[in-house]
């Protein structure tokens, strides 16, 4: 099966007063047809920049997708799309849901109208048909009174409702690929839970592929088939959900998993967390970026960058401890 999306050697920098921030430093990532893939990692590791790159939303001249990067959508390089092709791709074949729906929605336009506009931008349907379809979409994302909601402005809706409007817009043209960048981070738990449920249902129904971006491993556990763990602009581990949760290889992934608050933890005791902070991306270290925070750090880790190495099927990790013969890691199993 050929992949729907294939990212190869993606490198993205931002030029700032302080210097060049290497936000994404060589990411390879693929998404199959009808597949849900998650990208997880701490704040600032480059998740959103990767997401924006997929839709070519990185703004020049400050943002710079480096030459040599490839983003293939059904084999076509998105980075060389012309204007017309890009219009068909964005919002049609590929759409995005952001963390903060209030800033992503147009505050001066009724929610139904925003869905209609997106529908009409990508197909020749009539205004009346678009209006009916918008109401139907609002019903689909869980509004009991979709016709009334269609007439409301974003500020008249709660955070959870706005996110559902965003999802209705994103699914309006039945995209093949949906990028969801922290779609539930701004929401509280009961609403988060329902938004995730909705994404799951829509994914099954429309057979779209989803790239779900989050810092919370709890959020991806029930929905992602494969997971990429990102650190300081690179992928440090990738594999099936089972590999990542049950056969965790990279020390960073282990630390990230340990720091998720769990209902089974005892109260009033210190929580595990990851010591230290991620490195500056203006002058990234030459060795493993996680070395300074890693309990298993060896000499070589500070000197040389470990390559992402595949061991067991599609489970890969970039860690000297796991890949060097003679260390206790000695392979991924």
């Amino acid at each position: 099966m050929s992949d729907l999306l294939e990212i190869r050697r993606l490198r993205v920098s931002y030029h700032t007063m302080a210097g060049e921030i290497q936000a994404v430093r060589g990411v390879d990532l693929s998404v199959g047809e009808n597949e849900v893939v998650a990208v997880v990692g701490e704040s600032g590791c480059g998740k959103s920049v990767t997401a924006r790159s997929i839709l070519r939303l990185v703004r020049r001249p400050a943002g710079d997708i480096k030459s040599g990067s490839e983003i293939l959508f059904r084999g076509e390089n998105v980075l060389s799309f012309d204007k017309k092709r890009l219009r068909r791709y964005r919002g049609g074949e590929c759409s995005i849901v952001f963390q903060d729906p209030l800033s992503a929605l147009n505050p001066t336009m009724r929610s139904g109208r925003q869905i209609e506009e997106n529908l009409r931008a990508h197909s020749g349907i009539s205004a009346a048909a678009a209006r009916a379809e918008a109401v139907e979409l609002l019903r689909r994302v869980g509004f009991d009174d979709p016709a009334r909601r269609a007439r409301q402005y974003p500020h008249e809706l709660s955070g959870g409702m706005r996110q559902r409007v965003m999802i209705a817009i994103a699914f309006s043209n039945r995209p093949s690929l949906l990028i969801a960048d922290e779609p539930t981070t701004a929401l509280d738990v009961t609403i988060q839970s329902r938004v995730l449920e909705l994404l799951r249902e829509l994914q099954v129904e429309t057979r779209a592929s989803i790239v779900l971006i989050t810092h919370d491993l709890g959020v991806v556990a029930g929905i992602a088939k494969r997971i990429y763990v990102m650190y300081a602009g690179r992928i440090v581990e990738s594999g099936s959900s089972e590999d990542i949760f049950y056969h965790t290889a990279h020390p960073y992934t282990k630390a990230l998993l340990a720091s998720v608050p769990r209902m089974t933890m005892q109260s009033k005791l210190p929580l595990p967390y990851i010591q230290g902070v991620p490195p500056e991306l203006i002058d990234p270290p030459s060795g493993c970026a996680f070395a300074e925070r890693c309990a298993l750090c060896m000499d070589i880790c500070r000197r040389e960058e470990p390559k992402l190495t595949e061991s067991n099927g599609r489970h890969s990790t970039a860690c000297w401890f796991e890949t060097l013969p003679g260390t206790d890691g000695g392979g991924l199993l």
């Binding site: 409702m161 919370d216 990230l256 998993l257 608050p261």
Partner: protein
């Protein structure tokens, strides 16, 4: 725990007038906060947690009932008493970014309170004190001259905590202090807060929407729903023996960082609290979303009563004790 109530809310209310009538944002709540404990407050967005905390410490006026600090009414404090109260009672906000003035250095921010309360006399003393409190929250003295916008989210939150601590308070209102941070930094801030509490004998009111976090830091937990406290008990009671269907629903909506358990977790689907249609005029406020509700629930609002020692609940049909919380624990069978 007994006797030593630091704060007490008695039928405390705060109503807002809105277009058509008025909104009972805080609808007659009663509870105590004992010296040295952490009272957690949980509930969905818009249920009145912030209103509750701020009205309790007199930051917001009340429209009914009373708020007492060491038996004195906080809304009528004056003179020396008021001055002392303002020093002893501090607050940390959710959004550290907008709470800190970007044009002030960390040193100025931390020194503002001590300046107001005349705690330092010389410049050297002032700087020494600022460094001491920055170090207490794990930031080195070298951060003294840095501006708020130069800090990461987690660091900013530490500056906010240092600011609150610098006037040597007895009590801190923590309003979603970690909701905007990613998991690893959340754990660091929680540990810091618990450690400071132990060392300095502080009393906290800890507000959040996520029960999994609140449970870890709190001695007792108040669950709020649309302006009312619907359940209040020790952390352990809330965990092992939650009686209110809403508390159970809050539990069931926490995602589990384990794919097998998460796939089987099914959150009770409950509607959106922010929906005005789901704010009934009479009876139990949770009834429109409650699967156990009947005519009695829709007619009579259940009062908050003590069902077991120290376990308060407002429900006509409390869930029978099955000895286990739903969610992660239940699925361990």
């Amino acid at each position: 725990m007994s006797g030593d109530a630091m704060f007490e809310a008695r039928e405390l209310s705060r109503h807002y007038s809105t277009g058509g009538g008025f909104l009972r944002a805080l609808d007659g709540v009663s509870f105590k906060i004992f010296k040295g404990e952490t009272l957690g407050v949980v509930g969905e967005s818009g249920c009145g947690k912030t209103t509750c905390g701020r009205t309790l410490i007199g930051l917001y006026g009340k429209t009914g009932g009373s708020a007492l600090y060491c038996d004195a009414d906080v809304h009528t404090l004056a003179g020396e008493e008021k001055r002392r109260f303002k020093k002893e009672v501090q607050m940390v906000f959710q959004d550290a970014y907008s709470a800190l003035d970007p044009r002030m250095t960390a040193g100025d921010i931390v020194s503002e309170g001590p300046d107001i309360h005349g705690l330092t006399r010389t410049r050297a003393e002032r700087a020494e004190r600022a460094v001491r409190y920055l170090e207490l929250v794990g930031l080195g003295g070298e951060h003294l001259g840095r501006y708020a916008h130069e800090f990461s989210g987690g660091q900013r939150q530490r500056v906010g905590i240092a600011r609150a601590l610098a006037v040597e308070p007895q009590f801190i209102l923590l309003d979603e202090p970690i909701s905007a941070l990613d998991v690893s930094i959340q754990a660091q801030i929680i540990n810091l807060l618990m450690d400071l509490q132990k060392r300095l004998g502080l009393t906290y009111m800890f507000i959040a929407h996520d029960l999994s976090v609140v449970r870890l830091v709190s001695d007792r937990i108040a669950v709020m729903y649309l302006g009312s406290v619907v359940e209040l008990a020790s952390s352990a009671e809330i965990y092992y023996n939650a009686l209110h269907p809403y508390t159970r629903a809050l539990y069931a909506s926490v995602p589990i960082p384990d794919p097998e358990l998460e796939m089987r977790r099914r959150a009770d689907v409950i509607g959106d609290a922010a929906d005005p249609g789901l704010r009934p005029e009479s009876g139990c406020k949770f009834a429109p979303r409650c699967k156990y509700a009947d005519g009695v629930c829709r007619r009579d609002a259940p009062p908050l009563i003590e069902s077991d020692e120290g376990h308060f609940i407002a429900c006509h049909y409390p869930i029978q004790n099955i000895g286990a919380a739903p969610g992660e624990r239940e699925m361990k069978f």
